[in-house]
């Protein structure tokens, strides 16, 4: 039975993890996402579904616990905020290199360095362009509501297992802290060990008689073989780009101008659209839901329909590079951002559109 709750985005992630049948959560407290571990601990998921929750000694340990669990074919996850996610980059690279599925949530705060605990979107490059060492990508989902924080836990695991690659929910302090209505599901049972053993031959589920042991590793000393690994991973990424780029279009049918924005910036742009349309400006919104793979085709198709695009981010201009790559200078593209924990207001977003795109 579905149930309606008023929840913080962070709590929604935790509740969703339990109800989706996640096997393990390993995390370390950091603002503004500590409610996730707090909610998990308070809910006692081991009693409810057998889900393991462990407060690790660091983010480094957390992501490596995730590695160990993922290698067993279990659905495992961690969550953190920007500085903690930086610490996890080595582990993420190993997990991607070993071709394991897992889910990581980043409730982004302002940086660089220790920065601020206020919302930011300045981890876009780190998330979508690799972050750790080597040629790999994170399947990146950008929730713009508490409901999506809830839903993307399941979607993240689905995509992570489909491509045997880590998935990241790239959220921010606004979406993590805001309370909204959420429809939550019943508890789903976790996968049984038998199911995992039968379904995932790559997982360390105990050696099968008459079969060689399973090795989970990202090490391949022979460069010829390591190139083959890379080619296989890249082929997977091309498939993912082809099949799983997602975005939402709002008010785009008659739009002469569009905002391109994700997460909480998209919500702010929606308000700016409302204000703009009251003034008679036809504005729409392209909201990438997956940041990698980026909805390149949608934006490219849009170039013939609109007069200009404003990429709005809480960063100094990161996603705008992907917007420019997608639109190939066929239409005017500008960036507007506030950063370091500052949130743009709908009024200033509209004003920048009017001056930089419409008037510019």
């Amino acid at each position: 039975m579905k149930e309606l709750r008023l929840m913080k985005g962070n709590e929604a992630v935790a509740e969703s993890a339990i109800r989706y049948g996640v096997d393990g959560y390993f995390g370390y407290p950091i603002t503004p996402q500590s409610e996730i571990l707090e909610h998990l601990m308070a809910e006692n998921p081991y009693e409810k579904t057998g889900m393991v929750v462990l407060q690790a000694e660091s983010e480094v340990a957390s992501i490596n616990m995730v590695y160990g669990g993922a290698a067993c074919g279990k659905r495992v996850m961690t969550t953190s905020s920007s500085p903690g996610i930086s610490l996890m980059q080595e582990g993420l690279s190993y997990i991607a290199g070993a071709e394991l599925p897992c889910l990581v949530v980043n409730v982004v705060r302002g940086g660089p360095g220790l920065g601020t605990i206020q919302p930011s979107q300045a981890d876009y490059f780190q998330t979508t362009k690799g972050g750790g060492h080597g040629d790999y990508r994170l399947i990146t989902l950008a929730p713009a509501s508490v409901q999506e924080m809830y839903d993307f836990v399941g979607l993240g695991f689905e995509l992570a297992f489909k491509y045997r690659n880590p998935a990241m929910i790239l959220s921010d302090g606004v979406i993590g802290q805001v309370m909204e209505k959420v429809v939550i599901d019943d508890y789903k049972p976790r996968w049984t060990d038998e199911y995992i053993k039968k379904t995932f031959p790559w997982a360390t589920t105990g050696k099968n008689p008459n079969q060689s042991h399973v090795i989970v590793t990202s090490l391949q000393l022979d460069p010829v073989k390591q190139e083959q690994v890379n080619l296989r991973i890249q082929a997977k990424y091309r498939e993912c780009e082809k099949n799983d780029a997602r975005c939402e279009l709002l008010n785009c049918d008659d739009a002469e101008y569009v905002f391109v924005a994700y997460g909480s910036s998209a919500r702010i742009c929606q308000k700016a659209i409302e204000l703009g349309r009251e003034k008679g400006i036809k504005i729409g919104l392209v909201r990438p839901i997956t940041l990698w793979p980026f909805p390149t085709k949608v934006l490219r198709d849009m170039t013939s329909k609109v007069k200009g695009m404003l990429s709005v981010e809480m960063s100094a201009g990161q996603m705008v590079e992907d917007v420019l790559l997608a639109t190939q200078h066929k239409v005017k593209v500008e960036h507007f951002g506030r950063f370091g924990g500052m949130i743009p207001t709908p009024q200033e977003v509209l004003e920048v559109l009017e001056t930089k795109i419409i008037g510019g």
């Binding site: 096997d23 390993f26 393991v52 462990l54 490596n64 590695y67 067993c72 589920t205 399973v214 090795i215």
Partner: protein, 256 residues
């Protein structure tokens, strides 16, 4: 060769099937191979090949996963105890062991080591201490002895500038989470037999769910120490064992 003597009753040695047929990459004379064999024999004798997961480190034994015929995971440098923690928590009926060298366990992975032991994870940790970074070419390790020459302490370890050798096993024995902590060696047949007993106990302990079993094996690195295997074992006995004396450091109370 007289093939008529190949009969079961004449069998004096058989490689355990828990070791693969891959040729070990370790230097001739190195203790790693012996410890591998001990672990594999213990797994065979306990009949737990199908319910064991091992975690390999970064270091000389980075390729350990190629030799144990059990499901294996390869950790990032120092993180084996974190992986093992998750494996054991998610598969509590399994036997989980880590295999790490001194740099992996006592330098870059100190945090993971201490916290896994302090939480009392029901795993068996095997720690090979040879006082040097073998794989990367003989650099100074946290356990390198005072005055010992390595490629990054070419004039000998100077305690004033390079710090002191770390007796991490003694530290771990202080933690309430460890159940069994011992220091062994494998450079004589008698010591091999003793070490096997210790490792067997380490694996058996997992069934009791009373905490971490930690087995240090003081070993040689004839290549890194730039000695013949025999000379390195002698050097080990005369130098390493002063700071790292053999024997049980923490024994389960019921065994006392």
């Amino acid at each position: 060769m007289n093939e008529s003597i190949i009969k079961p009753e004449n069998l004096v040695y058989r490689k355990t099937p828990v070791l693969t047929d891959n040729v070990l990459h370790y230097c001739p004379g190195c203790g790693h191979g012996t410890v591998h064999r001990i672990i594999a024999e213990v797994i065979e004798e306990m009949g737990i090949q199908e319910t064991t997961v091992g975690v390999a480190p970064v270091g000389c034994s980075v390729l350990a996963y190629n030799y144990f015929e059990v499901d294996m995971q390869e950790a990032a440098h120092g993180r084996a105890p974190a992986l093992a923690t998750a494996i054991k928590r998610l598969k509590p009926d399994f036997h989980v062991f880590t295999y790490q060298g001194d740099g992996d366990l006592a330098a870059i992975g100190t945090g993971e080591t201490i916290h896994a032991c302090n939480r009392g994870e029901n795993i068996t940790m095997i720690f090979i201490n040879n006082g040097i970074y073998g794989m990367t070419g003989g650099q100074m390790a946290p356990t390198t002895l005072e005055g010992m020459k390595t490629s990054t302490s070419p004039y000998g370890r100077d305690l004033r500038t390079m710090g002191n050798p770390l007796r991490i096993t003694e530290i771990l024995a202080q933690l309430p989470g460890t159940y069994y902590v011992t220091r062994q060696a494998v450079y004589t047949p008698a010591l091999v037999r003793k070490c096997k007993k210790a490792i067997r106990q380490g694996f058996e302990n997992q069934k009791k769910q009373k905490g971490t079993s930690f087995i240090e094996v003081v070993s040689n690195c004839n290549s890194g120490w730039k000695m013949s295997p025999v000379a390195s074992n002698k050097w080990l006995e005369e130098n390493m064992l002063t700071l790292y004396p053999l024997g049980d450091i923490k024994v389960p109370t019921e065994n006392k």
